[in-house]
Structures are given as structure tokens and as C-alpha cells.
């Protein structure tokens, strides 16, 4: 069995001391930022990108992946215990998790969420294993025109599943694409939008941009809103759920896992969307929906399983096609490029140890997280008492040092400041940063494929409609855009995000 060979290769890579250490480090960091409000996985991964330069490729990707799903775990702890979601993906967990805690079932809620997450993470990892090869094989048949259309579909879909105005989000994608053009033109060597600044001739690094847009702007907004933490901490008694709770949690977690896995693969999907949809589904099919919001076990089990499953499966488009589906995946693409790996179908064939090692380590990481989260719960809760006035300057400092170490130049620190201001303007105007970042990361590749496709077709744009793969992708893109214009769909989409 080829699959088993691949998996055993993966586990042999993941079980080295070095990679286990980095997986643990990533999970710990992820849990930490998951617990702390005011800093998310995007800003953290951007801060750590420069440091990963010093690490071997496999270890650095394992660590960054750990931060991502660790954050999904950690965020739920604070949702349940203090009614404060550490991450957007655990906002729904607050609704019933905190109520369960108030009913004296905090321990049960925590263990249901941890075990459900672990189960979902395992299923998500299995799905990656099963789908990675066929998808990669399919991607290898893609020509430049197909790739260009695939990226267009990815970008449009990402916009539709994000919240907020669609027109604005599409404009943000284009703005990101435009920023991606800065630097030397690959085909002719001409300088574009570099304003004679030598540092810009290699293009704008996206790590300072991500730090500015997601780190600095977030801090400033929190300082404005005067982020305070209230709410008494709830004592955790027994971690064991009752038989009745188990009976209700198991099917809910199963449904959440399936829904989350499916939504995670979609561009623009990911943990947050998975959790929201799973909660809505449970409420709809429940025999007594009145229980929801008062401590329903299903309302904890389903979204927690869904957000973790989605965190895992959102790796699929990135690993197989090289197309990031959300902001974190865009940074993972960046991390690979820093290591000299071009994400896409070649990763699996040319670097099987990295590919399978990373997948195996995800499962190990999920197992570690159960251990980190359950017995050590007290430590994480204590961290919540650290006031934001200590955290904000520290996060700023790490952003600055991280940006500097990218290329040992203070120019990048200045970039963080500039994009911090831009990010602040975006927040004030209600423009989302994620579509911008996706456009920025995909921009250079997309231009490359576009120009190559046009060259091959001798300047005939019909090539995008003549190739069947490309045509199919473009038709899907057009359908999605049409769907967006329908009033009924608009309404449903608004409702789906209303609780955010």
C-alpha cells in the first residue's frame, strides 16, 4: 500500500526529537495566543516567519501549523471558562460553553471540547491523507491558463465566504494584487512602483504587511476600545462528563466534524465558518432548540469539532494546489517560499518527507493539545489575568524585532509602521485585511501564469475559455458571482454572519 508507506515515512520524520520539539513548541504558542485575546494566529505567524529562516524547512512548517490549530484549541478554553473567545473561531462556543460552566459543568465542557477537537483533528488529518494524492495528480495536468482561472476562482470564493460587503472585498483583492506588483518585473527586469528605493526591488515582503495589518492595527483598535477583562473565573471540578452528556455529544461532534471538514476545504472557509455553521445546524435539527444558549452539550461539541476539522482540511488546497484559502494559509505559503519551496503539486513528489512529515505531525500535535489543554488548564486561565497594558507593548516589540530580523534591516520595521496605519484605515472603513493578503500573495504568480498563457495562445484571451479545465473553473467563478447578486442569497449570507 502506497498510502501506508507514505504515512510511515511521515511518522518517521515527525517522530524525530527535533520535529517533536517544534510541534510541541508550536502547540504551546498556539494555545497561548488562543487564550490571549488581542493577538491571533495571523499576527503570530507573521512575527515568527523571520525566525523560521533559521530552522530546517520541515521543523518550521510543523511549528507554524501547530500555532494555527493550537489557537483553535486554546480559544475554546477561555470561551468556556470566562465567556471571552480568544479567537473568532470559538465565538460560538461562548454561547453554550459558558452556560455549561455556570451550571457547574465546566470540566465536562472542557473535556468534551478537547476530545471532540482531537477526534475532529484526526478525521481532518485522514482526509488530507486520502485527498492529497488525487488532487495533486489532477493539479499536475494544469496549464498556465488553468492555473490562472483556478486562482481567480480561489480569490472570488474566498471573498464570498468572508463577511462584509462583497464589492469591497473584491476591491481589496485587487488592491492586494496591485501591491503584489511592486518590485522587479520577472520577464523584463523593469522596476515597477519601487520609487528608486533599493529595498523594494525584491518586492514588498508580506511578513511586515501581515504584522502591520493584523498585529499593529489590532493593537491600536484594542487600545481605542479600552479592552478590559471582566468576569469571575469559574472553578473547574471534575473533568468527566456524565453518560447522558456523552450520549448527546458524540453524534453532535460527528456532524460537526463532517461539516467542518467540508467547509475547511473551500477557499475562504476555515475554522470560523465551520464553527458557525455547525452550531446553526445543531440548533436546526435539535428536538428542543430552546436549550441552546442555556448550556446545551451539542452547542459545545459540534462547533468545537467543526473548527478543528476545518483548521486541518484548510491545508488541502494549500498543500496540493499551492492556493491558500485564508490568511493563515497565505502566510504558510510565505513560510515555504522563505525556505525555497514553491508550494504546489511538486511539493508532494519532490519533497515527500516534508509533505508527509508535516501531515503526520499534525496528528501528533492534536494529541499533544489534549494533554496541554486538560491537565494544565489552571495555568492557561492564570495567564488571562495579565492585563492588556503589559501585552500590547510586548506584542509591538516582537513585531519590530521580527520585522528587523527578516533581512537585518530597519527598513522593514518602517514598513510595519506604514502598514499599521494602512491596516488601521482598513478597520475604520470596514475593509477586511484577509482578501488583501490573499491577493498580495497570489498576485505575482497569477500575473506570471496570465502572461505565459497569453504568450502560448499568441495573445488570444479565448484560451481561458477553450481549455475545458479553465472553462469549468471560470464558469464556477461566474456562477458564484451571480449567486452573490441574488437578494435571497444576500440575506442568507448576512444572517450567517450576524453573530460575529
Amino acid at each position: 500500500m502506497e498510502l501506508l508507506d507514505n504515512l510511515s515515512l511521515g511518522f518517521s520524520v515527525a517522530f524525530t526529537f527535533q520535529n517533536l520539539t517544534y510541534a510541541l513548541l508550536g502547540c504551546l504558542l498556539g494555545t497561548l495566543i488562543g487564550v490571549l485575546p488581542g493577538i491571533g494566529p495571523v499576527a503570530t505567524i507573521a512575527m515568527l516567519l523571520p525566525i523560521t529562516f533559521h530552522l530546517p524547512p520541515t521543523a518550521s512548517l510543523i511549528m507554524l501549523a501547530g500555532i494555527y490549530y493550537g489557537a483553535a484549541y486554546g480559544g475554546s478554553t477561555t470561551s468556556i471558562l470566562v465567556n471571552l473567545p480568544g479567537e473568532a473561531s470559538s465565538v460560538v462556543t461562548c454561547l453554550d460553553g459558558y452556560q455549561m460552566a455556570r451550571n457547574g459543568r465546566a470540566g465536562a465542557a472542557l473535556s468534551i471540547s478537547a476530545v471532540g477537537s482531537f477526534f475532529a483533528g484526526t478525521v481532518g488529518t485522514l482526509i488530507i491523507v486520502l485527498f492529497a494524492e488525487p488532487l495533486t495528480r489532477m493539479a499536475q495536468k494544469f496549464g498556465p491558463a488553468d492555473y490562472c482561472s483556478l486562482m481567480a476562482l480561489g480569490l472570488v470564493a474566498a471573498v464570498i465566504l468572508a463577511s462584509g460587503s462583497v464589492t469591497k472585498a473584491i476591491a481589496m483583492v485587487f488592491l492586494g494584487l496591485l501591491f503584489g506588483l511592486v518590485g522587479t518585473d520577472v520577464n523584463t527586469g523593469a522596476q515597477r512602483f519601487t520609487f528608486d528605493i533599493p529595498e523594494l526591488s525584491d518586492g514588498i515582503d508580506f511578513a511586515p504587511i501581515a504584522m502591520g495589518l493584523f498585529g499593529i492595527a489590532e493593537i491600536v483598535v484594542n487600545l481605542e476600545r479600552h479592552l478590559t477583562r471582566t468576569g469571575g473565573t469559574i472553578k473547574v471540578t471534575s473533568l468527566w462528563p456524565t453518560m447522558d452528556e456523552v450520549r448527546r455529544a458524540v453524534p453532535a461532534a460527528l456532524r460537526g466534524t463532517l461539516l467542518g471538514s467540508a467547509l475547511g476545504v473551500l477557499p475562504g472557509g476555515g475554522p470560523t465558518l465551520g464553527a458557525f455553521s455547525a452550531y446553526t445546524l445543531e440548533k436546526k435539527i435539535s428536538k428542543n432548540p430552546g436549550q441552546f444558549g442555556k448550556g446545551a452539550v451539542e452547542g459545545v461539541a459540534a462547533p468545537e469539532a467543526a473548527n478543528n476539522a476545518a483548521a486541518q482540511t484548510s491545508f488541502i488546497p494549500m498543500l496540493t494546489l499551492g492556493i491558500p484559502s485564508n490568511a493563515v494559509m497565505a502566510l504558510m505559503v510565505g513560510a515555504m517560499i522563505i525556505q525555497g519551496i514553491q508550494p504546489g503539486p511538486e511539493v508532494m513528489t519532490k519533497k515527500p518527507d516534508l509533505f508527509w512529515g508535516m501531515i503526520a505531525s499534525m496528528w501528533i500535535g492534536n494529541a499533544m493539545l489534549v494533554i496541554i489543554n486538560l491537565p494544565m488548564i489552571g495555568i492557561w486561565v492564570k495567564l488571562l489575568t495579565v492585563p492588556y497594558r503589559f501585552l500590547a507593548p510586548a506584542i509591538l516589540l516582537f513585531c519590530c524585532i521580527g520585522a528587523y530580523s527578516l533581512q537585518n534591516s530597519t527598513f522593514h520595521v518602517m514598513q510595519v509602521a506604514v502598514f499599521g496605519i494602512l491596516g488601521y484605515v482598513f478597520v475604520k472603513l470596514g475593509c477586511e485585511g484577509a482578501p488583501f493578503l490573499l491577493g498580495l500573495v497570489l498576485g505575482p504568480q497569477m500575473e506570471e501564469y496570465f502572461r505565459r498563457a497569453m504568450l502560448l495562445s499568441r495573445g488570444d484571451p479565448m484560451v481561458f475559455l477553450q481549455r475545458p479545465i479553465s472553462l469549468g473553473l471560470l464558469v464556477t467563478t461566474a456562477l458564484l458571482l451571480l449567486l452573490m447578486a441574488l437578494p435571497s442569497f444576500k440575506k442568507a449570507r448576512k444572517e450567517a454572519f450576524v453573530e460575529e
Partner: protein, 149 residues
Amino acid sequence: MNRFLSKDFLSGLMFIGFGLIALYFGQKLALGTPVRMGPGYVPRMLSLTLIGLGALVCIIAIVSGSEPVERPKWKPITLVTLGIVCFALLFERAGLIPALVVLIMIASLAGEEFKLTEVIGNIVVLSVLCTLVFKVGLGMNIYILRGVW
């Protein structure tokens, strides 16, 4: 008047602005032909699309209205930006510790509460931590205090 100070209308203006800037600075780049595109072809396409989308966002905002912009508070954004700029200017010239002290001081002023003893405590903890992690641990080639270490 409120209609023009809404989030969406101003975002539309921002998109148009960026599009115009790109158009202006990209005008010298050769366009080329669709077969052999010059460096200016894709930028021109993108900036024109962005201007179009910006105009669309503006029109939608005027026709159907949108939320008004929250009044910005100038203190946090100004002080945070100032802190980062000072850090950038001091880091290579003076070293990590002076840059860190200035950044933390300015950033702490941006918050609502400022207690000098707490800030000093924060500075000490972060100085030790950063020195250990970045200089000793990762072996980065940086000055802790220029001329001393």
C-alpha cells in the same frame, strides 16, 4: 453630508485613490502587446479595474447608504506609529535596549492607564527575555547596547 462620510463611500474613494496613484506611477512602464506583455500591461489592467470597483462601491454607498465612520482617536495610532519609528531609528544606532525602552515607554502611553513602576517592570522583563531569546538563543547579529555588547 453623512452619506459621504460613510464607511463604504470613503472606502470607494480610497480604492479610486490607490488606482489613480498606480496609474500615474505606472504610466512610464511599457504596455507591450497581448502576446508579449510589457511590464506595464498587468498594472494598467489592475489599476483600471480598481478604479472601476471603487466607483461602484461609492455609487452603492450613495444609493443604499452605509454605516457612518467611527470617529478615530488620534492618541493610540499616533503613539504606536511613533514608537515603531523610534525603534527603527534607534535599533542599529544605539542597540536593542535603548530602542526597546523608548518603544515600550511610548506604547504604554498610548493606553488608558500608565503606571511608571509597572512600565519599568515590563521593560526589565522584556529586556532580559529579548536578550536571551534573540542574542543568546538565536545568535542574531544585533547590538544589545552599541559599544558595550
